[in-house]
Symmetry: C2
Subunit: 277 residues, 2 copies
């Protein structure tokens, strides 16, 4: 108590300033919780709250049974949202907008990052309400024996060898029957947008939606985070074809801290395009 500010946030501030002024450099291990507790003369729980505060700010990452470390300020990988997928804007490298496969790797290279993604995991599953709504699937009575199903294609994506994002794309089962490459656990070489165009579904528009939410268990594991970390950024894209029908839902979850969502409109100086922040 000792005044107006709580002890744990005083401790957090002290660590924060040590990090910001470089006394604790990137990757450095913080003193263990026991050491901190002893040196401040407080109980372990108070230290945990302090470290937790820094974790939520993304300054520190904690690996259970190893310790807490100053987060490496990974050069941001910038997700640039633009009209490229629609062919409206064709300057090379200008925007990829949560693109799949090749587009992801190409954008990364332009930003001087190395990227790769796992082989897609393909699964046919019952559609949940988000997927049904986005893809315009009619709801069925809950007792129906034939639940609507979707094809999910999931990839883990890495930048500079480190986990960057998880991407899940959902398609109606009907569509996957026409466009069978969707069912194969293989990268679609030309990209799904081009492939589906060749199957008669031209992507003429899309709607993007962003959210921030706490990571799920699976995401914590993939990103190597511990509970109480920064929020992840969720990007939902619903793509529409030439008939105004939604035909693809892509949900990408980005690791916090190392990603920035960017959107550029109109004329801006070239430097702005070149690099993130």
């Amino acid at each position: 108590m000792a005044g107006r500010i709580s002890k744990y946030s005083e401790i957090a501030s002290d660590l924060r300033s040590k990090i910001e002024n470089g006394a604790l450099g990137p990757g450095a291990q913080l003193p263990t919780e026991k050491e901190l507790a002893d040196s401040w003369g407080v109980s372990p729980n108070t230290i945990k709250k302090a470290v937790n505060e820094l974790r939520q700010e993304g300054l520190v990452e904690t690996f259970p049974q190893k310790g807490s470390f100053v987060a490496e300020p990974a050069p941001p990988f910038v997700i640039t949202l633009n009209h490229m997928d629609l062919g409206e804007e064709n300057a090379p490298g200008r925007g990829f907008g949560g693109g799949e496969g090749k587009a992801f790797v190409a954008e990364a290279r332009r930003q001087q990052h190395r990227a790769h993604s796992s082989k897609p995991e393909v699964q046919v599953e019952d559609a949940d309400s988000v997927q049904m709504k986005a893809l315009g699937i009619e709801p069925v009575p809950p007792d129906s024996r034939q639940k609507p199903q979707v094809v999910r294609r999931s990839q883990e994506r890495f930048v500079d060898g480190k986990p960057n994002s998880l991407q899940h794309s959902y398609f109606k089962l009907d569509l996957a029957i026409q466009a069978q490459a969707l069912l194969k656990s293989v990268d679609i070489e030309e990209g799904t947008v081009a492939y589906l165009q060749s199957c008669g579904h031209v992507q003429t528009g899309y709607e993007d939606e962003f959210n921030a939410r706490p990571p799920k268990e699976e995401e914590l594991k993939f990103f190597g985070l511990s509970r109480g970390s920064l929020a992840v950024i969720e990007h939902k894209r619903t793509a529409y074809d030439q008939h105004g029908e939604p035909f693809r839902l892509t949900i990408t979850v980005y690791k916090p801290g190392t990603n920035k969502i960017r959107f550029i409109a109109g004329e801006v100086p070239d430097e702005v395009w070149e690099r993130g922040s």
Copy 2:
């Protein structure tokens, strides 16, 4: 421990399902922490952790000394990012892109929400590094007596009477001398974009950047949240004029849960425009 799952997250799950199946409706008060502790036979700290988990998911809001309540599912206010500010897309109501003053109120009305914003608070202050970088202000040596300054215009914005977002716009001091309305604590009737155009700065492009981060003390207070809530969404817009010079930095912080960031490109069915999710 009683198994693989921790007790606090078991308690959280139980409350979560009570909320989702309606046993605890919107606005309902959760049992007090003492009641929960007694009924589960656990210590108070364990209950706090459980409630904390729900708070981070935005399912519950806690008001110190009053209790924890199921969050009201406010109809989402959708922030639609598009080219309207540039006159590229003129269909009425299609996108306002973090616009100021009138644009904010108009967009809200279109979505059938009532909106208003506070009188702008105007302040001349030393520029921080984010502002200097965005506005292209040259850094000065730290011992310099004349630090670069910026004009800040801040507004609190409300939707349906509830706090929705905090917006701060920054301008170079030079610009505010040419365009003196910026210095007055009065809504700029025609909007800042139009006003600055009349002063010779045509907004020809902008760069948007999004981030999620834990709320600052000031934001907690404005949004009426308690510590450990959901992340806020931060939207930075740097606007460029006809000479490719940045002339405005606008940072808008949105209350979590009730806002969605949306971006629409190309052709999508009209329904998509009409309403949020």
